[in-house]
């Protein structure tokens, strides 16, 4: 069997006219309508929007957990199903989804084990990754012994096990407290830089999307479609980035896009959205 030629220019994700309709009891629900999106190699793209805008659905379509009603989905230049079977992407969900009966190391080894990598190589790779996510001291622990943030780091290490060129993340930090969350964002920026993987990242949080991404895809609900794509150029991210005026400017831009119109120059509006965000983060604790 010969592998299809992978050109250097192949986009990590390519969506053309993707729509998804869920048949309902009374009437069908249009979850996504006519989505066109290209994610370049190594690019970090966030999907943001209110609940029900179809951002998770879109991610699940890219992952081939759902198939689109119409339109085309290509990952690394292959149809989504082929890409899933070839393990072209790694994935992490809001729940870490680790296997409680396996140690941290064995959890990270799982995808390698599923695809017949031999024991020695598996072990070496898992040790490398457990180091990468800063959990070397916990390699022999089991998930119930770890905090939520640590579990999520294990899940990310597991997603990276097969050195995918694409990482799919569905609100992976949604259940974490604010402090842990910022820490994990820093880690993710570093990891994404180290591995050169493209990332598609679903989130509710505007600052999170802006901090992490090269582009923020703003979606609107009913039917879910792309309202605007906001490019973010903040250079290398550090903790100082969170204080930079450009960071706030980008946040405002995304917020405007979410509202579908320029935000009036009043403080109240901005505060109310930020408050809603904070409440959401707290509600998730």
């Amino acid at each position: 069997m010969t592998e299809p030629q992978e050109t250097a220019a192949a986009a990590a994700v390519e969506l053309h006219g993707v729509s998804k309709t869920f048949p309902g009891r009374r009437d069908a629900v249009v979850a996504l309508q006519d989505i066109d999106l290209t994610v370049g190699p190594g690019e970090f793209v966030s999907l943001i929007g209110p609940s029900g805008c179809g951002k998770s659905t879109l991610l699940r379509i890219i992952a081939d957990l759902l198939s689109p009603t119409s339109g085309e989905v290509h990952v690394n230049g292959k149809p989504a199903r082929r890409a899933r079977l070839d393990q072209d992407y790694g994935i992490a969900f809001q729940q870490a989804g680790l296997l409680d009966w396996r140690t941290v190391l064995a959890n990270i080894e799982l995808p390698l084990e599923l695809h017949g990598v031999d024991r020695g190589q598996r072990k070496a790779r898992a040790l490398e990754l457990v180091e990468l996510v800063g959990l070397a001291d916990f390699a022999k622990h089991r998930p119930p012994q770890l905090s939520g943030g640590m579990q999520q780091r294990v899940a990310i290490a597991r997603a990276l096990a097969e050195s995918p060129t694409l990482l799919l993340m569905d609100e992976p930090f949604g259940a974490l407290d604010e402090m842990t969350r910022e820490h994990m964002q820093n880690e993710l920026v570093r990891i994404a830089g180290d591995t050169q993987a493209a990332v598609v990242f679903v989130t509710h949080s505007i600052p999170e999307a802006v901090f992490l991404s090269d582009r923020v895809v703003v979606m609107s609900p009913r039917p879910g479609r792309i309202a605007e794509i906001v490019p973010v150029s903040l250079g290398p991210r550090t903790d100082d980035t969170r204080e930079a005026p450009l960071f706030y400017a980008a946040i405002t831009q995304v917020r405007e896009a979410l509202r579908g119109r320029p935000v009036p120059e009043t403080v109240e509006v901005g505060v109310s959205i930020e408050q809603a965000d904070r409440e959401r983060a707290q509600g998730a604790l």
Binding site: D64, F93, G97, L99, P144
Partner: protein, 297 residues
């Protein structure tokens, strides 16, 4: 508290329970009315005569008594203890065979029902229905089907009918428990395995079966108890000789002479049940890492 201390504590409790039981037995025998306690003409507590409730010491001595009369004794004479142990081991062997068959059949059914929804819809009602058929009605049928069947050099033995009847009781909890267990992984796990392009076998071995352990172990405990009960009932209703079931019958026919022997045999049967349960517990302990939350200890 460490594991050793905990199991030592449990052993003490079990011993205390036995002592308490013995004390109640003897106390009631000493002070209870000879004719038992009656409520509205129905006896709610047994007679306390030696024929109905022998002293524990009498039962104890019965174990040491020589087999005479009804039971056939060839060669060196056997004590009642010998007979009880001998019979219990026979029964245990048949029950183990029945248990093994039951577990295999139960697991295969569960796997089939998990794989095909249609199979679950079609089979589950019959699986449940199967347990409403009285064992006593079933026993002669199984014996008749088995009798004289021969495949090559394999000839059907009477004990196999007993094992099949034991399996009939044992398969049920395994099938029902495992079906639930196989469906127990959360959606996020199922999604992950699908994303990893894991096939049916990998998903089964690395996700579904490990996740099933908390459901499977209680099912196996029920199956073990069921297999022992099934074997004893089947021995009696198919008339198979050599096991504890027959021994109980034999001894009760002699009961007018010596009721303590019936109790000796019953104690033997109870010990069998305990042995079966203990075996499952040992198996369970070996699987501690699959217990929910146990890994946090």
């Amino acid at each position: 508290m460490n594991r050793a201390a905990r199991s030592a504590g449990r052993a003490v409790l079990v011993a205390l329970g036995l002592v308490a039981l013995a004390a109640i037995w003897e106390a009631y025998k000493s002070w209870g009315p000879d004719d038992g306690v009656k409520l509205f003409g129905a006896r709610v507590l047994p007679r306390t005569t030696d024929a109905a409730m022998p002293h524990l010491s009498t039962i104890w001595h019965a174990f040491g008594a020589n087999e005479v009369g009804g039971a056939i004794t060839f060669g060196p004479s056997k004590t009642v203890l010998d007979s009880v142990v001998d019979a219990a081991l026979h029964t245990l062997r048949w029950a183990a065979a029945g248990f093994a068959i039951g577990v295999v059949v139960g697991m295969l059914l569960a796997l089939l029902m998990d794989r095909l929804i249609i199979a679950e819809r079609a089979l589950m009602p019959y699986v449940v229905l199967s347990q409403t058929v009285p064992l006593i009605a079933l026993a002669p049928l199984v014996t008749k089907w088995g009798q004289g069947s021969k495949i090559g050099t394999f000839a059907w033995q009477p004990w196999m009918s007993v094992a099949v009847i034991a399996a009939y009781l044992a398969f049920f909890p395994v099938a029902v428990g495992l079906v639930r267990g196989l469906k127990s992984p959360s959606p996020v796990h199922a999604d992950y395995f699908r994303c990893s392009a894991a096939g049916w076998w990998n998903t089964l071995v690395r996700l579904k079966l490990p996740a099933s352990v908390p459901f499977l172990v209680p099912a196996l405990r029920l199956a073990a108890a069921g297999a022992v009960i099934g074997t004893i009932v089947a021995e009696i209703s198919t008339g198979l000789d050599g096991g504890i079931g027959r021994l109980i019958i034999t001894y009760s026919q002699q009961a007018t002479g010596d009721p303590s022997r019936v109790y000796a045999a019953v104690i033997g049967a109870a010990a069998l049940g305990l042995a079966a349960a203990a075996a499952v517990t040992a198996f369970d302990a070996a699987l501690w890492r699959y217990h929910r939350g146990a890994a946090a200890q």
